[in-house]
């Protein structure tokens, strides 16, 4: 494992998630740094999305500590209700299967993302119902933030469309813009490049680099598209069968034999390096135990 340097943003310690007898995530620990793109990769069913759901409060983990470091202090995500993770800890996420408000307009999607801020400005609707200037000003600012992100994801032209009518790639970008409109410190993306063509995933990579370098926000990324992962991530965590099998820079992970084995399957025993052959009985035993 190579060392990743930086200021910690999210510390995941001994995260374990059990569903009855199934251990979906098994004792995973890693640290995501501020202003870095941390990619979580692994074969299908490795427990990546389960880990995300633990981080964003949709599941409460069986074991583990999830500490988010902000200027205001440390937030323990495993103790927060799902909606408070975005509201207080400022962790935003997108979904593997896009979850937009399909019958609302693109702009409305981005305004709803700023709900808490606007709710306060509207005096919990009282000032808003009376049409006081304080609310109108807040709404104008919200529209400006939305416009900023619409420009970034190249959807300004479609701002008044129904979100559900956008093409697939645009919906993916809109979901990222919507998550960014919550003004997060950590952005969690669940397979943002799934279903995109090479040009679109190129654009996506640019967008994520912009979010990291210009907005100075940490990104946690689940992705299968290795070209995107290897190009933009600063740190890669590899999961397999719920365990972390590798952790380090993209270059290190790419050449890690355990990772290669997880992705390409085991070769014949004779061709394996001796130290792995030595470990094999132990691995088999562990698997029997699990």
């Amino acid at each position: 494992m190579t060392a990743i340097t930086g200021t910690p943003l999210l510390e995941v310690e001994h995260l374990t998630m059990r569903f009855g007898g199934l251990v979906a995530v098994n004792d995973v620990s890693f640290t995501a740094m501020k202003q870095q793109i941390t990619a979580v990769i692994g074969p299908n069913g490795a427990g990546k999305t389960t880990m995300f759901n633990c981080l964003t409060g949709f599941y409460s983990p069986t074991v583990g500590r999830l500490a988010l470091h902000r200027d205001e202090g440390i937030f323990l995500l495993e103790r927060l209700e799902a909606f408070r993770i975005s509201q207080q800890a400022a962790v935003a996420r997108t979904f593997q299967n896009i979850r937009l408000f399909a019958h609302m307009s693109v702009l409305e999607n981005l305004i709803v993302a700023q709900h808490n801020k606007l709710m306060k400005a509207s005096g919990f609707s009282v000032a808003g119902l009376l049409g006081l200037p304080v609310y109108r000003k807040a709404e104008k600012e919200a529209v400006e933030l939305a416009r900023h992100w619409l420009d970034k994801v190249k959807l300004t032209k479609f701002a008044d469309w129904e979100a559900g009518n956008l093409p697939y790639g645009a919906q993916r970008r809109l979901e990222i813009a919507r998550a960014m409109c919550t003004e997060p410190v950590l952005l969690c993306l669940d397979e943002p490049a799934a279903g995109l063509n090479p040009r679109e995933s190129g654009d996506l990579a640019e967008l994520l680099i912009y979010i990291r370098d210009e907005e100075k926000i940490g990104v946690l990324l689940i992705e299968h598209d290795m070209s995107v992962v290897m190009r933009i991530s600063d740190h890669v965590v590899v999961l397999d069968y719920g365990r972390k099998i590798s952790d380090g820079t993209p270059a290190y992970v790419k050449s890690d034999p355990t990772v290669i084995r997880a992705y390409l399957g085991e070769e014949e025993h004779e061709e394996l390096p001796p130290e792995i052959i030595r470990d094999l009985p132990e691995v088999a035993e562990r698997e029997e135990g699990a």
Partner: protein, 495 residues
């Protein structure tokens, strides 16, 4: 008609025996269905119940089905134009022909008109029906057009509602029906917040209506509170009951939520029914005070000592219509308040969060929206409006009993919202006119009203499941100069 059919059968391509066979089978099924349902009628003779046959009705019904089926077959076989002419003729003739019962007449006319419509569509497009998509698109366009036209339809409708009591044709029954329709419009607009905006299927809305009505009745009965004091209190109590119900229920989703609200509606009714010492039980509460003219004057012929009556205040002759017209304006104002409130709140964070919740509640959570609070707000606000309407109902009737708050009321209010198009404010008005106004207009057909109601709902659900005027305008536009719809249409055409 049959003569014409046989004449046409001479043309090539028409298989007369097959046609007669198909129509005959349909008529046979009709016979099997109508014979027990229509053909046998139970009559009270003295103290005994006897069965009297009605064979003419059955014969006519079966004949109508037979002829109608032939009309449909001919339409299918590319004889649409003659069928159109003949069916229109039949509809006109049926209007004047004597039928043994009004229902048969209606069925004959309606059936002929339906066949005429199908024939007309076939004549135009070579197909007997429009596809679901085409129909949807046509209705969407209509909905969008109505939404656009709302700018002037709304004020005109309100103006019409304001001058209605002074129209020459406005007798007492017209104003009464107006009050009834407006009450349901108000309830529909209230429920629209929960069902249309927040997407929570509430089958027990009548519970809040009951809470409002009983709040006023009981406060007036025990404490002599006036209507104007009770109106806000009733709203408050109904909203409180909404919150109390909401807390345990709102964590449920979809069908489970609907079932629990259904149960809650029944619980309220059964409590009212059985808590005899407090609520009067099944006897209800009578002698509920009528509203005064804003606490200044009463609508009495002879006001009590030291008080002034409405006609004395304005120096006009006493007329019992004054109170009715006042009630009419009261409910109009209440309903318009609800509408104004809903239109404003749609553009506020709460309103947008409601709609977002309806679209995807998991995404809402991920954006930091507290679902429970938002749903509770929807529930409480809708309950409050239900409570207002309820206390109006109590003061208008002067008598309430649990009978008025059965499940069917909830169902009717929900039907208004769904039929109108979820979330559409104008749709609620149109649907209330159809569901409440039409049955009132056809009171002579009282026996068949529920039948027609049910049939209408089934037809709407088959043809237009999203409701008549389901169209949603964005609450905020980035490019306000050209309408978003126009842009979208442009770029769709460009694709």
């Amino acid at each position: 008609m049959t003569a014409l059919a046989s004449q046409q059968s001479g043309r090539p391509g028409l298989d007369l025996p097959a046609m007669l066979k198909e129509a005959g089978v349909t008529a046979l099924i009709a016979l099997a269905l109508t014979f027990p349902l229509v053909g046998l009628r139970t009559v009270d003779v003295g103290s005994r119940l006897t069965v009297s046959p009605r064979f003419t009705e059955v014969a006519i019904a079966v004949a109508l089905v037979f002829i109608g089926r032939i009309g449909l077959i001919l339409t299918r076989e590319k004889q649409a134009l003659p069928v159109l002419v003949v069916s229109l003729g039949v509809a006109a003739a049926a209007w004047f022909l004597p039928f043994p019962s009004a229902a048969l007449k209606v069925i004959a006319i309606a059936g002929a008109l339906i066949i005429a419509i199908r024939a007309a569509i076939t004549a135009r497009s070579d197909r007997s029906t429009l596809s679901q998509q085409e129909r949807d698109r046509a209705m969407d366009r209509l909905g969008a057009r109505v939404q656009d036209a709302a700018v002037w339809i709304g004020p005109i409708a309100i103006l019409f509602a304001i001058v209605l009591p002074f129209m020459p044709f406005a007798n007492r029954s017209v104003v009464d029906i107006g009050i009834l329709i407006l009450t349901y419009i108000m309830l529909g607009w209230g429920l629209n917040i929960v069902v249309g905006l927040a997407g929570l299927l509430d089958l027990g809305y009548v519970a809040f209506y009951a809470v409002g009505a009983y709040s006023y009745a009981l406060l007036a009965h025990y404490f002599d509170f006036s209507f104007w004091l009770c109106l806000p209190l009733a709203g408050l109590l109904a909203a409180t009951s909404g919150v109390i119900l909401g807390f345990p229920v709102l964590r449920l989703r979809g069908d489970y939520f609907a079932i629990v609200t259904l149960g809650f509606g029944e619980i309220i009714r059964i409590v009212l029914l059985n808590w005899g010492v407090f609520t009067g039980g099944p006897n209800g509460i009578s002698g509920i005070p009528r509203p005064s003219f804003f606490g200044i004057a009463d609508f009495e012929r002879r006001p009590p000592e030291g008080e002034i009556a409405f006609h004395q205040l304005f120096g006009i002759a006493f007329d019992p219509m004054h109170r009715i017209i006042f009630l009419y304006y009261l409910i109009l104002a209440l309903a318009l308040c609800v509408n104004l409130f809903t239109m404003r709140i749609r553009k506020l964070p709460v309103g947008r969060a409601w709609e977002a919740l309806r679209e995807d509640d998991i995404a809402c959570t991920s954006l930091g929206i507290n679902r429970t609070n938002i749903k509770l707000a929807a529930f409480a606000i809708a309950a409050m409006f239900g409570g207002f309407a309820g206390s109006f109902f109590a003061t208008r009737q002067g008598f309430i009993s649990p009978e008025s708050f059965t499940f069917i009321e909830s169902a009717i209010i929900l039907a208004i919202v769904v039929l109108g198009g979820m979330g559409s404010q104008i749709g609620v008005v149109v649907a209330a006119l159809i569901i409440i106004g039409l049955p009132e207009a056809f009171r002579e057909l009282a026996e068949y009203r529920m039948l027609a109601f049910g049939m209408g709902m089934v037809l709407i659900m088959v043809w237009r499941p999203r409701g008549l005027l389901a169209h949603r305008d964005p609450t905020i536009l980035l490019h306000p100069k050209r309408s978003a719809r126009q842009q979208q249409a442009d770029s769709e055409a460009g694709e």
